[in-house]
């Protein structure tokens, strides 16, 4: 019985992701893009959850790992013949390399993980506001370097000519990989130790948990998933430095917080719910009909609605719409 409850915690989010994938396959090609985008966002938000949710430490820096993953996969996937036109200043050792789709995604994940370890080794000592600002600084530095370092990417330009392999199937698989990895980590002793430090730092230290080491492990896993998501992202649309910066940081944090930062279920529900709302508003900005009413919202309404929703959820229900709990279909009988 108990084992069944545990399995629910994996099956719930996984079924939701799969349902989004199946639903996406049933709709028109134009609408399908929104589903694919939502599933990539699920992967990013689950990556955020692995660190923020389990450790309780705020990070504004994860989009750096998404950006690095996108750059890795992007640079290596642009066909060799197209490289001089898109990235004329590319370093010699990158200019002649070209890898396949799967390899590019794996390398993106590896780069995200390595970057997270390099950043995490000094930064995981910090907590609270200092951690928030330091990770923000990491985002600023990554953005700044990628923007002007044309040896490793297109600089100010967008990644055009990257094969658009992230369709519905790959996005669903990517999101599922993230969900399973996050579940396995959260159930492992490392995940439990990290959550112990979140609940009571002093007590966790007292029983011999190294807060620093546990945070670093979570940060590395989370960087790996973020890098993978970045790889999927660059294969979905022509990414540039601005599309992996403040706006993406905002929307993914909003998804995590609205869903409930402390559970995997919350991360997946939040990512899909906010994506659905955001996509609907995006459609409505171009004019649509809803129950016989013609709706034509001005451009920019999306961010206002999502921002207001996020603020309201934080005020009314700071633990998110799922209450930050995992999915339990059958509540335990009252003792």
């Amino acid at each position: 019985m108990k084992r069944l409850l545990v399995v629910q915690e994996l099956v719930g989010p996984a079924v939701l992701v799969a349902a989004a994938g199946v639903l996406g396959a049933a709709v028109s090609t134009a609408t399908q893009t929104y589903f694919t985008d939502a599933l990539v966002k699920v992967a990013i938000v689950v990556a955020l959850y692995v660190f923020i949710g389990n450790s309780g430490v705020l990070s504004f820096g994860h989009i750096s790992f998404v950006a690095l993953g996108a750059w890795t996969a992007g640079v290596l996937s642009v066909p060799r013949t197209e490289k001089p036109a898109i990235m004329p200043n590319l370093a010699h050792w990158l200019a002649h390399r070209e890898v396949g789709n799967l390899t590019s995604l794996l390398l993106a994940a590896v780069v995200g993980c390595v970057a997270a370890i390099v950043v995490g080794i000094p930064l995981m000592r910090l907590s609270g506001l200092a951690a928030g600002i330091a990770t923000f600084a990491v985002l600023e530095i990554t953005h700044n370097l990628l923007r002007y370092e044309e040896k490793v990417g297109p600089g100010l330009n967008a990644f055009s000519a990257v094969p658009e392999t992230t369709g519905l199937r790959q996005a669903t698989l990517g999101a599922l990989v993230a969900v399973v990895a996050a579940f396995v980590y959260a159930r492992s002793r490392f995940g439990r130790m990290l959550r112990a430090t979140r609940e009571d730092d002093a007590a966790a230290r007292a029983v011999g948990v190294s807060v620093y080491r546990q945070r670093l492990i979570a940060f590395a896993i989370s960087g790996l998933l973020a890098g993978l998501a970045g790889g999927l992202y660059v294969h979905l649309l022509p990414v540039n430095t601005e599309s992996v910066y403040l706006d993406l940081t905002f929307i993914t944090l909003a998804m995590l917080v609205v869903g409930g930062a402390t559970s995997l279920w919350g991360a997946v529900v939040g990512a899909l719910a906010v994506s659905a709302l955001d996509s609907y508003l995006a459609v409505a900005e171009n004019g649509t009909d809803f129950l016989g009413w013609h709706i034509d919202l001005p451009a920019g309404t999306r961010v206002i609605v999502v921002g207001a929703l996020m603020a309201v959820v934080l005020i009314v229900r700071p633990s998110g719409i799922t209450g930050g709990r995992e999915l339990r279909l059958r509540r335990r009988a009252a003792a």
Binding site: G56, L58, P122, L123, R125, L126, G128, L129, A130, G132, I133, A134, F136, A137, V138, E140, I141, H143, N144, L145, R147, Y148, D247, F250, L253, A254, V257, P298, A299, G300, T301, R302, V303, I304, V306, G307, A308, M310, A311, L314, I315, P318
Partner: protein
Amino acid sequence: MLAVWNIDWQTLVDAVAQGAIYALMAVGIGLVFGVLRLVNFAYGQLVMAGAFALALASQWGWPNWAGILLCFAAVLALSLLEDRLVFRPLRGHSPAVMLVATFAVAFLLQSVALLWFGPLGKIASSLAYLNRPVTVSGVDIRKITIVAIVAVAICLVLLFVLLERTTIGLHMRAASMDFETARMLGVRADRVITFAVVVSGLLAAVVAVMLTVQTPLVTPDFALRDTIVVLAGVVVGGMNRPIPATLGGFAIGFADGLLGGALPTNQSQYLPSFLFAAVILVLLVRPRGLFTFGKTVERV
């Protein structure tokens, strides 16, 4: 020494002015943090609102005093609204939750500005004459630089008098030391918070006036970068006390201005990297604040 680093007096004076303006923003953020334990990421959007007010006033051909008045009114109204709708309901939540909430408010306000004024922004030109230089012993100094340094000095002195010599100032200092105990001893929470928000708003309006002179083109992301840098400065300086926070704001503005002038042209695009690398370094060495000395209680 200065020549080695390729810094001339002009850069130095400009850096001091930028430090002064950032110091003022740091005070504005620090005052609200003192009473509410809330890091206001949306502070830059108050400045942005003030800047748009100035731009509209100059578009309508209003005289300068009326434009500045409109700027103050707009910023004050917006900060009181923020306080009612967001800050107060959030009171008592963890600092991280509040930071994320104000992050949302910042994006919301920025989008409102985008809807209202469009992405290209508006130009606030009526005070542009302050950008012209005067020559002081061979160094060209823009008038706004002098105005900024003097205005910030006056604001800081007034603020010091307010905090140290008035009853409400005493209440505010008490509230930022220990809010609950202060309340028990008869400090009225709502009044102190409103007061901090109002003063913080007034400072934002002053900053709006000075920043629009330096950058007359007002866009929806006006002052966004400045806020991020100032927030880093405030945390680096030491969030818990007003003076370290102010010094942190000044230091990061000064460093930003100095680096901007000192870096060779082919490296100046990497200015943010240098600046934020320094931020990370200081946070690692002194996580409680560069300018906090003695024993401090970890609050955040």
